[in-house]
Amino acid sequence: MALAPVRRVLPNGLTVITARNPLIPAVSLAIGVNAGASADPATSPGTAALTARVLDKGTTRFDADAIADELEGRGASLSVGAGRQQVVVSATCLVDDIGAVLPVASAVARQPTFPEGEVATRRAELITGIQEAADDPGSVAVDALQAALYPDGHPLGRPVRGTHDAVAALTRADLVAFHQRYFVPAAAIVVAVGDIDAGKLADRISRGFADWSGLPTPIPLPPAPAARTDRALIVKPMPDKSQADVAYGNVGLSRGDPDYYAALVMNNALGQYALGGRLGDSIRERQGMAYYVYSSMDAGLDAGPLMVRAGVSSDNVERTIASIDAELTAVLTTGFTAAEVDDAKRYLIGSLPRQLETNAGIAGFLLSAEVYGLGIDHDARLPQRIAEVTHDDVARVARRLLDPARVVVVVAGPWSGPAA
């Protein structure tokens, strides 16, 4: 069943995408704006994250109380989140309430007032979140890995949530300027999915956003990140924690890379399939060392990291790192079996209907397909793209991306380094 979405580009440059899904009488709306952390000024990581937190706390048309009244008397939910590429305003409501919720969501994206008091309150809120992350071995390990893989001010080297000092220094004027610069129709995509005619929904959204104006400011492209050519171990001692988090990886590839689909299959076989692919077989199932071990790939507009993650007791840190090395080496020397590659492909293709079942799942898929320019019929073409991946493609991309001699390994937790 193809999604058959409706897609329009308005004269002001805004892209509108809608699709019908009849499961429940509700609608999910997502307004994605290319103003994520990759647009943060280099000296002010956290700008997009704080903008997202203050965005829905008052607009020229609706103050904070009016936003609450419009939404909450109807049981509608609206939230704003910042990611690497985009800030996304998400709303969910019953079908009958879309007429009331849409103007609020639109005002939040287009006409926020950033009240001074709200900036102060949400800044402290974000700083609290930054502090909490500093106490979480998983976040500490991933942040340190990204910083090591993406040095010299590359946006991927900085956490989306920002840093304590940078966020503490952000002012209302910074948020207003960031909003004016990036929140423009040509940099935005509105997606809506629910039990409502897709054409009529697109009409309604188009009318609501037709008077949005502003010209886009391109986000400066960072230099293409260079993969590590050596191996490094970084230890972040957190002696009071119960177990250690390992983050192990190198620069991966971007969403537009010709090897993307081969890498998707490779990553699935390596550290996703069933309970964590080959890595899960070794570290969780055979050796019983970890509750979670998996690999992940962050292929955005930039080449994000390909990383392996595990949570293990301090006694098992060295054995875990050695096991990851051994699994990567095995893939490089003997490769995956034909059955492993076929299984991963069948799974990735077969899981699409599940991904595309819920309103929010469909909206997220359509938004991401638009961000990466994959085409409006991406859901129909994706199975073929995965099916075309060959065993040789997977072997080639493994050689390109997996080499234990060229990785950064971070350990955060009650472990102070390898035994002498």
Binding site: D65, E72, A274, L275, Y291, D343
Partner: protein, 430 residues
């Protein structure tokens, strides 16, 4: 339209046809959870859940991997205080495979000694990963403090010493005692034909022999009779504050007034503890969000009232904001509780939260997986028919009933307060 059948061996089957996507979700629910565990074997239900993914008489260990992934499917399971459950969601063409897995899981798991040992350390790793999170530590302590008699007091994952000493025989005995068809509910929702499902279930499960599940504990938690406190002082960066109140069970007439009360205090969270319906809780106009987060005292506040078989806890949890004091957060929450118990709901406040909860109940069933979860969950803690009446029970909630619930439950003698105070002072994250 839910179709209910009971097989001769006592297995309850619930089927609902939903033809919007070519998917089916199968859940098998057992009436066994951590409240069925005594000293020495805490955590056995959850460990058994892990063991039941490790190969059966007819599914060799090396063929478990991929058994449902081949159909693009996902599988999972969870254990909590009242229940243990397993699910597969996949292409509807994999229905037979999903039923086969659940029939094997019910009757034919292997429990080899090597697998039991290797899973012991996986579960200890799960426990220690949880301990890395100060909020989870606090939840464990506050629950054990609030209950002194009822077995809801110990954590579902178990106490560490029990996880170190339990034997293969403890695990296997627990499995054989509770994994019998007359202690289970099988739920199938999706792009299926009801008569066909009934026929296939009869084929796959009809031959499984029924048993006598152990009697569930009957201990009733005595009235608390005075405020309790637990104060953790440990290294960390952030302070957390909690209050838990003994709360009504799902079938208690006070449950829905209490749910509305929670919506007024912290926002309407719905009744799907599996996914939350995948929708953020609407909090902007909730009293404690305004009193704590909008004022800058806390960076977040949330409430949790789970539908449970026996009286569990209503919890209010806040993260103390950078630079604010734990005491100020505590005063703000307790003052609001006192005010609410004195004055009750404001005009229109009841209408607002009932509208929110009505919408949440729709979002709660936003996929075949969620719908099947809701049917099985309520079948296990009460009856599935109780889930179909939640709209009526909600509609019957009055401002007076909410006010009465506040006066009954939000009182000092019924509460336990938990504090996590970081001892290393402020660590700057750069």
């Amino acid at each position: 339209m839910v179709h209910e059948t009971t097989l001769e061996n006592g297995l309850t089957l619930l089927v609902q046809e939903v033809h919007t996507a070519p998917l089916a979700s199968v859940w098998c629910w057992y009436k066994v959870g951590s409240r069925d565990e005594g000293p020495g074997v805490t955590g056995v239900s959850h460990w058994v859940e892990h063991m039941n993914f490790k190969g059966t008489t007819n599914i060799p260990r090396d063929q478990v991997k991929g058994i449902i992934e081949q159909f693009g499917g996902s599988w999972n399971g969870y254990t909590w205080i009242d229940q243990t459950t397993y699910l597969e969601t996949a292409s509807a063409s994999a229905l037979d495979r999903m039923l086969f897995i659940e029939a094997e899981r019910m009757a034919s798991c292997l429990y080899t000694p090597e697998d039991c040992e290797s899973e012991r350390t996986v579960i200890i790793s799960e426990l220690q990963g949880g301990e890395n999170d100060p909020e989870q530590r606090l939840d464990t302590e506050i629950t054990a403090t609030a209950f002194k008699a009822h077995p809801y007091r110990h954590p579902t994952i178990g106490w560490l010493s029990d996880l170190k000493t339990m034997t293969r025989e403890d695990l296997y005995g627990h499995y054989r005692r509770y994994y019998v068809p007359n202690n289970a509910t099988l739920v199938v929702v999706g792009d299926v034909d009801t008569a066909d499902v009934v026929r296939r279930v009869q084929q796959q499960f009809g031959g499984i022999v029924s048993g006598v599940p152990a009697r569930r504990p009957t201990t009733v938690e005595p009235p608390q009779g005075g405020e309790r406190r637990v104060h953790l002082r440990k290294p960390g960066t952030t302070a957390y504050w909690r209050a838990v109140f003994h709360a009504p069970a799902f079938t208690d007439p006070d449950f829905f007034p209490m749910l509305a009360l929670d919506a007024m205090l912290t926002g309407a969270s719905g009744l799907n503890i599996w996914s939350g319906g995948g929708v953020a809780t609407p909090q902007r106009s909730a009293r404690l969000y305004r009193g704590l987060v909008n004022t800058g005292l806390a960076s977040s506040v949330g409430g949790f009232l789970a539908p449970t078989a026996e009286p569990f806890l209503y919890s209010i949890a806040a993260t103390v904001a950078h630079g604010q004091s734990i005491g100020a957060v505590e005063r703000a929450v307790l003052d609001e509780c006192t005010r609410f118990a004195a004055d009750g709901p404001r005009p229109q406040e009841t209408d607002k939260v009932l509208a929110q909860l009505r919408a949440r109940f729709v979002f709660d069933a936003g996929s075949v997986t969620d719908l099947a979860h809701q049917l099985g969950y309520f079948a296990t803690i009460a009856s599935w028919r109780d889930w179909t009446t939640i709209g009526d029970r909600l509609a019957a909630v009055t401002p007076e009933a909410i006010h009465a619930a506040a006066r009954t439950y939000l009182v000092p003698d019924n509460r336990t307060i938990g504090i996590f105070e970081p001892t290393t002072g402020e660590i700057e994250a750069r």
